[in-house]
Symmetry: C2
Subunit: 316 residues, 2 copies
């Protein structure tokens, strides 16, 4: 599980930061990539990566401001152009209105996608769940309807304790697989053994919260609670004036993001959606200030790849 930052800017593209998009690479976990927001030229940024558009399985859209959605029609078209077929559907989660934007763009441009797309209008709570992942959406507080996301990986089953299996003279064979799956098995010698007795501790899944454009709000706390990685917008820095600008535009400061991370027991904070004003010495100060407020903070740059590790305790 890796996060690749395709665009870390705010409002409009600048020379150093493209508009918002994050790729969550789940290649080991589900041979898929998920995108969070698709600002203009996200597909251009993807050209610089190893991501293949047909691997994109889900797209989550936080809100409908242009810097978060204007890359969507082009990305969908190119995914088609590059040969995604009818067995490679794409699900797009977003606020009401997104479907009309995408469908108008596709209709006017006479773009006929080679694969199906499904739109899911976001409502509070669990918006996706299967055996390996769960995604929760909570409302944020911006100038328009806006949502944050919490991606929870399901626990990984513990490893088969091979020494214990051997000590109990359980013969090798398909039974190992059944034990590993936690099943109860009757052996050839008549014994009945329970797989759960032969498994190490389950590995808790990882939790990533992604919170784009917002002012501080309750929903953000629910999303961020104990997250391994909290990705949070920080359009502005810590001064009083910057704080005022942040509020005037419905945004957060570095201080807001760090407070949330501290209050909610977050392990690592990654800041994005950074105003283009922060370059050179101003960016240095921005980064230093952020780390003073929450020590494990990273200010993302375009094309950064951040690994989401399993928590140390469960590695032992």
């Amino acid at each position: 599980m890796e996060l690749e930052f395709l665009g870390t800017g705010s409002g409009q593209p600048s020379k150093f930061r493209n508009v918002a998009s994050i790729a969550m690479k789940l290649l080991d976990e589900r041979n898929a990539v998920w995108l969070f927001d698709v600002g203009e030229a996200t597909q251009h940024q993807i050209l610089k990566t190893t991501i293949r558009p047909r691997k994109i399985e889900k797209i989550f859209i936080s809100h409908l401001h242009g810097d978060h959605i204007f890359g969507l029609p082009g990305l969908l078209s190119s995914r088609s152009f590059q040969g995604a077929d009818k067995n490679e559907p794409l699900t797009i989660y977003g606020p009401k209105g997104l479907k009309s934007f995408v469908n108008t763009a596709l209709r006017v441009s006479e773009t006929h996608l080679s694969y199906p797309i499904h739109f899911v209008e976001i409502e509070e709570g669990t918006i996706f769940e299967d055996d390996t992942f769960k995604v929760i959406a909570e409302p944020l507080r911006h100038r328009m309807e806006a949502w944050g996301f919490r991606v929870e990986e399901k626990p990984h089953a513990g490893e088969l304790l091979i020494d214990k299996v051997k000590a109990d003279n359980i013969p090798a064979g398909p039974v190992y697989g059944q034990l590993k799956a936690g099943q109860t098995v009757t052996l050839d010698d008549g014994r009945t053994v329970n797989g759960k007795d032969y498994l190490g501790p389950a590995q808790p899944g990882r939790v990533v919260a992604i919170i784009f454009d917002t002012m501080p709000t309750e929903g953000a706390k629910i999303l961020a609670k104990d997250a391994d990685v909290l990705v949070h917008e920080s359009t502005y820095g810590i001064s009083k004036d910057e704080g005022k600008m942040a509020r005037a535009h419905g945004h957060s400061t570095t201080r807001d993001a760090a407070k949330l991370a501290n209050d909610m027991g977050v392990k690592k904070l990654v800041l994005t959606h950074v105003s283009a004003r922060y370059i050179g010495p101003l960016l240095k100060k921005f980064i230093t200030d952020a780390n003073k407020l929450f020590s494990n903070t990273y200010v993302a740059r375009d094309m950064d790849v951040i690994d989401v590790p399993f928590t140390k305790e469960s590695h032992e």
Copy 2:
């Protein structure tokens, strides 16, 4: 008058060629920039130039395929963000359907532009004319409604023949300006003199034809006639197979473009909308072939700037 090639690719962006857009820089002529087509990330390409978005006065859209329009909402938003005011309107010429695409994108994203936009639905013939320029549109032949453009600069008045003015003892003063404007003036000594007798030959204006996605067609001939510069799509090269592919997709080959240039007395041919397949040796061959068929051919690359000179005859 310069042409800056912001995107010279076809269909979808590649590492070397962005999707279609050309800036016609008319800074000396009218302190303005005109854009022809606005593929995704045109605004990103503009960031690499000296073009200021608020200087963009007119946008001409050839057709509604995504690689020619998906950059429009973002460009319009950023022009607003960068402070274009209500006295800096923008006129957008395009096929029916463009307005609905743009307005849906702006409405859904709650983008409120700081300046007015006017949509003009293209019809055959003169779509714009003032004292300095005329723009003519002709229908092309593509997979959907498509238009080509011919930009005609009005003739520049001849220079005041200062030696002749002095030889006739016309005293210096405001009268020089009146003569330069071609007016008839009564001098203090009672003589009546006609400015036209004191002007050198008028400088014919320049003609640029811009022909994006099309198969060969009559409209293209009307647009290209005697053009100083013909910009023409050449999605494919000259082989028989490439010719078949061009027709299958409603496009032209290098051969088609060169034939048009030869038949219509074009002075310089610039090829664009080149398929991403032409890189390395294939691109070299593409360029060599093009120059064999029409000697003054240039294959545009992204960020190329091409000057449109006055014809030599009228410089003398």
